[in-house]
Amino acid sequence: LTGGSSAIVSVSNSVVSNSTTGNGIYSNGVGGTVTTTIDNDQISNNAYGVNVNTATVLLSRSVITQNSQYGINNSGGTVDTFQDNRSLANGHSNAVGGSGLTTTPVD
């Protein structure tokens, strides 16, 4: 992004798959502000499933599987998870890459 640009975007009820050399969903706030809500998505067979770079992601009810690098990777951003996702069989023994997750209680 460029200085001052901002985005609030939701990705819901969608399938993001088979981008085997790249990211399924890349939330990139470098140079601006990006907040992404990811809800009820299937994110599979990418290199990175959800890749966050200096952005805020709200993650819920999603299936994240078979991504060859990380299912979720967080580089300097915030990933709020509602703890109701299914993340399994991703690379790096299914670990979360980078800064980890922030858990958010389900209302």
Partner: protein, 219 residues
């Protein structure tokens, strides 16, 4: 420098196409058909052959509709309009160009694109490009097979590229497929300016993008 030159090239392609579609018409609805002729009035009884001609015939906030399956050519949109392909209209982007470009001066006006197959045929750079306007709604569309220039910077190889440089913008993408695009399937990436964007992506299938190693959905 290479990126700047590439943008100039894209603008040149844009200018050539826009020169054929710069005037607003008077119809509230215009039509295209595979049996149409661009010298027609673009009415339902006398449809045109291309979206560009039907766009010239329609007034601001009008509707362009495809009457039957066909390939209706790329389009530059500079006023609010609805383009309804009814699920059987195809657009093949020109080599090194775009399928549909939305660039409404002043950042006003709403554009709706529905029922379109926008195809890069392995030669065009972007499927749908949103540069300026108040809102863009894309529903029931397919964007596929767009290629990136060498050393891509995000302005080529996109199925859908949301790249406004100013203003407050709303985009909605629903029931849409982004497939086999070289850089991004769907991208929000303003390359200059300070736009404020709110977007909704729902019931989208984005797959087999990123042959260049980028992302299916980039925000």
């Amino acid at each position: 420098m290479k990126s700047y030159g590439l943008r100039l090239g894209l603008l040149s392609v844009t200018a050539v196409i826009a020169s054929a579609s710069a005037q607003a018409g008077t119809l509230t609805r215009s039509f295209v058909s595979s049996a149409g002729v661009d010298s027609n009035g673009c009415t339902i009884a006398a449809p045109c052959a291309t979206f560009a001609a039907a766009y010239n015939a329609v007034a601001a906030d009008g509707i362009i509709a495809a009457l039957d399956p066909g390939k209706y050519g790329p389009l530059i949109i500079t006023m609010p309009v609805t383009v309804n392909g009814n699920g059987w209209a195809a657009i093949t982007g020109t080599a090194n160009g775009n399928g549909i470009t939305v660039n409404i001066s002043g950042g006003t006006g709403n554009v709706i694109l529905t029922g379109l197959e926008v195809d890069g045929a392995g030669a065009a750079y972007n499927g749908i490009v949103f540069e300026s306007g108040a809102s863009l709604t894309i529903s029931d569309c397919i964007v596929k097979d767009f290629v990136a220039a060498s050393s891509p910077t995000g302005n080529t190889g996109n199925g859908i590229w949301i790249g406004p440089t100013a203003g407050t913008v709303v985009f909605t993408i629903v029931n849409t497929v982004a497939l086999n695009n070289a850089y991004y399937g769907i991208s929000y990436w303003p390359q200059s300016g300070n736009a404020t964007v709110t977007g909704t992506i729902d019931h989208v299938f984005a797959a087999h993008n990123t042959t260049g190693g980028s992302s299916s959905i980039q925000l």
